[in-house]
């Protein structure tokens, strides 16, 4: 089987064996949850409760503000203790609602009336997805309803389900594919229906043969659905790469997938859509992988949104003595944490506790102009130049070299033998360039 791929990229050690054979476990109810009002890209939701209110699971606590936004629901029954800034895993404090858990009775959970997936209209699907507060599970947490509502002039002809899970360690999407194949196909069909598309592709990296086999057998008799095996290579799961591999189309800089007629959704997003339509559930739990050599008992977990990382880590037996780094997200794009009192959010895909030998920290030397980063950058940028321009405050040059195109995938920094924190410099330069651009536009 020859698997398809794109140009560039790297293949880090996978470490998936730590959790890939562990079925999802349900995390018990936490003592309290922290619900940031902005767990998505776009406008912050506006609170609908006040201090002292009693809430039940699934109840709306903050409603969407504007088109690009998503509502927030509580994941537990309890009492609103406070509304205010709380630290989050992104590193920045955000306005949040803190709820102290009082009951654990699940039957009280708020549910929308289930819809029949066969008869639901595109508008009904879109409305339900919006009300259920579904955001992309692939990392960016973009409100899904928006993606399902493309502008009239865009012709979408393919929906791609992103089953790459190209980040090492993470096995959440894999577990979904193994445990809930039918639900995810149902979710995919709902997306296709909402977009009026009749081609659906599930892209899976070839390091997950069981998932490929299982899903292939399921879609064999489904019209318009296919499973594509992709070469195992980071960042195969990045939108632009996946579209290129599956359809051969390239998304131009500054453009969106829908500009080339594609919509990409994560596996977890499809499952959430299925749950919202067929079961009437709102998005109040996050499926995630807790892994790394620094955690005593790695697991795949279903966790109520808002649970603190500390709680989750404790539940998994705590950290080992040689743990040095805790990351929310995958090891290539995730954010290192200094405070464990931060909540799991809707799109949190993993919590990793890494030991010294996993995060090999090496001394930085000047760039050797080896070109590895350039060969590896999937977007054909010149990371070494971007970083150097940024270091020397030459932002115009950086802009000219395409710094704003960078998706911060980290491939370049991974390969760099000189250990230059390329992504950090590029991120800095990107902010400066965007700032300069805004100033220019104002003028």
């Amino acid at each position: 089987m020859s698997s398809k791929t794109f140009h560039g990229g790297v293949h880090p050690k996978e470490y998936k064996e730590l959790t890939e054979n562990l079925a999802f476990e349900k995390f018990p109810f936490p003592e309290m949850v922290i619900l940031p009002l902005s767990q998505h890209l776009g406008k912050e939701a506006s609170p609908q409760v006040k201090k002292g209110d009693d809430v039940k699971p699934g109840q709306l606590v903050a409603k969407a503000e504007g088109f690009i936004s998503a509502p927030v629901h509580t994941s537990v029954a309890g009492k609103v203790m406070s509304l205010g800034k709380e630290q989050t895993s992104s590193g920045f404090p955000k306005d949040s609602i803190v709820i102290k858990t009082t009951g654990t009775v699940e039957s009280e959970k708020f549910l929308f009336p289930p819809l029949n997936p066969e008869t639901a209209t595109p508008d009904e699907i879109r409305e339900r997805v919006a009300l259920a507060g579904i955001v992309g599970q692939g990392g960016a947490a973009f409100p899904t309803s928006v993606k399902l509502t493309p502008p009239k002039d865009k012709v979408i002809d393919v929906v791609i389900l992103n089953g790459c899970e190209c980040e090492p360690y993470l096995t959440r999407d894999y577990r979904f594919m193994i445990e809930r194949p039918d639900d995810l196909i149902s979710g995919l069909k709902l997306i296709m229906k909402a977009l009026n598309v009749n081609r659906g592709v599930i892209g899976i990296e070839d390091n997950k043969p069981e998932a490929i086999e299982l899903l292939s057998s399921k879609v064999k008799f489904e019209h318009g659905l296919e499973v594509t095996a992709l070469k195992t290579k980071y960042p195969q799961g990045a939108e632009k790469m996946l579209i290129k591999t599956v359809t051969g189309r390239e998304v131009p800089p500054g453009k969106l997938p829908m500009d080339v007629g594609a919509v990409i959704q994560n596996i977890g997003t499809a499952i959430a859509i299925h749950d919202a339509i067929v079961k009437g559930e709102v998005l109040i739990s996050a499926a995630l992988t807790v892994s790394g050599k620094g955690i005593k008992n790695p697991k795949n977990l279903i966790v109520p949104v808002g649970t603190t990382i500390q709680n989750v880590i404790d539940y998994c037996g705590g950290v080992t003595d040689d743990a040095v780094k805790i990351i929310v997200g995958g090891p290539m794009m995730g954010v290192a944490q200094f405070d464990l009192h931060v909540p799991v959010m809707k799109a949190t895909s993993g919590i990793l506790v890494l030991t010294k030998d996993e995060v090999a920290e090496n001394p930085e030397t000047p760039c050797l102009r080896c070109g590895q980063c350039i060969g590896a950058c999937p977007l054909n940028l010149m990371p070494t130049k971007l970083a150097r321009y940024s270091q020397l405050n030459r932002f115009e040059d950086a802009e000219g070299a395409g710094i704003t195109v960078c998706m911060e995938c980290g491939t370049c920094a991974y390969t760099c033998p000189a250990n230059i924190p390329l992504v950090q410099w590029i991120r800095l330069g990107k902010q400066k360039v965007l700032q300069i651009k805004r100033d220019r536009d104002v003028k």
Binding site: P331, M332, F338, D339, N362, L381
Partner: protein
């Protein structure tokens, strides 16, 4: 909306906070440099076998002075001392291997000082130099002591201090061709490191296999040789065959170890093709029309000068961008 935080964090844990990516490939600068040194072991062994163990003194002198110069300059400039990253030692070693056997030790030392001083540190040190430092050192020596550096020892275990023409000189001045087999084994006159093509290839293939050397440079140089060398050979069969060109002199050594120096070769894949083909073209012209029998060093240095331009004009097209017209 109230803005007070009601719940104090239970505990703060300060972990390693470096930014993503949190994983890293296994290579580091010093690992790479020492690995290249290791890949040169077969060539060193061949040199000692064919020219006698005393040649080790040339190697030691070159390495010691290279490292010494590096450290001295770093001390003067109040920069971090980084001799252990292996790059200076590697430069010294490579310089030694491009010198003729029995070359004077004092001149070797001068070469090392020039290689590191003028070839590398004056540009700001590791990573900033434009020209291959070892070759800057050698070119300096060749210009300073042209007679000494073209006096070649006959490779033999017993006979001492007998000069002999190298295959290239034999071709250039007397139109005599040497067979490929002795050139491959190393049984011919020439610089320390280049004598045995087989030893060079072992090291080079190792470097390609682990991904340190980008295969595009050696390959494009060899293809370039077939292309340009072949062209001149077809025009006039008096000229050497491409095979002779490849096995004679320091072509393979240069292709595997010197043209591939990361710092001084192009950073783009397309650029590497241009670079390799360019080296071969210049080399063939020098070997056939020039006054000097060999030109690997000159052709690499010449193309080093073009690297910034090559990088600029072979900038990869950003993913998805329509190929824009060349700027300005």
């Amino acid at each position: 909306m109230e803005t007070t935080t009601t719940i104090e964090p239970k505990q703060k844990v300060y972990f390693d906070l470096t930014t993503s990516p949190h994983l890293h490939s296994k290579w580091t600068t010093s690992k790479v440099m020492w690995f290249v040194v290791a890949a040169l072991v077969p060539s060193i062994a061949a040199a000692l076998t064919f020219f006698g163990w005393t040649q080790i003194f040339i190697i030691i002198t070159a390495v010691v002075f290279a490292v010494g110069t590096e450290v001295s300059i770093q001390v003067i400039r109040k920069k971090q001392i980084t001799w252990f990253d292996g790059s200076a030692a590697l430069t010294g070693l490579l310089l030694a291997l491009t010198l003729p056997p029995n070359f004077s030790l004092s001149a070797t030392a001068i070469g090392s000082v020039v290689a590191i001083g003028l070839g590398k540190q004056i540009f700001g040190g590791l990573g900033y130099n434009i020209f291959n430092p070892a070759l800057v050192g050698r070119a300096f020596l060749q210009a300073a002591f042209p007679v000494q550096i073209t006096t070649w020892l006959k490779p033999n275990f017993a006979v001492d201090s007998v000069t002999s023409a190298t295959p290239l000189a034999a071709f250039k001045f007397d139109k005599i061709f040497t067979d490929t087999v002795p050139m491959a084994i190393g049984n011919v006159g020439g610089s320390l490191g280049e004598t045995s093509a087989i030893a060079v290839l072992i090291g080079g293939i190792l470097l390609i296999a682990v991904g340190i050397v980008n295969w595009r440079i050696p390959l494009s140089m060899i293809l370039g040789m077939f292309l340009f060398g072949g062209m001149f050979w077809l025009i006039n069969p008096q000229n050497p065959t491409p095979i002779f060109h490849i096995f004679a002199g320091s072509f393979l050594f240069g292709a595997m170890f010197m043209a591939t120096d990361w710092v001084t070769s192009p950073i783009t894949n397309k650029g590497m093709w241009v670079f390799g083909l360019g080296i071969s073209l210049v080399l063939v012209v020098i070997r056939i029309y020039g006054g000097l029998p060999e030109g690997v060093m000159y052709s690499i240095l010449f193309m080093n000068g073009f690297v910034p331009l090559i990088n600029r004009y072979t900038r990869p097209t950003i993913f998805g961008a329509v190929k824009e017209e060349k700027k300005k």
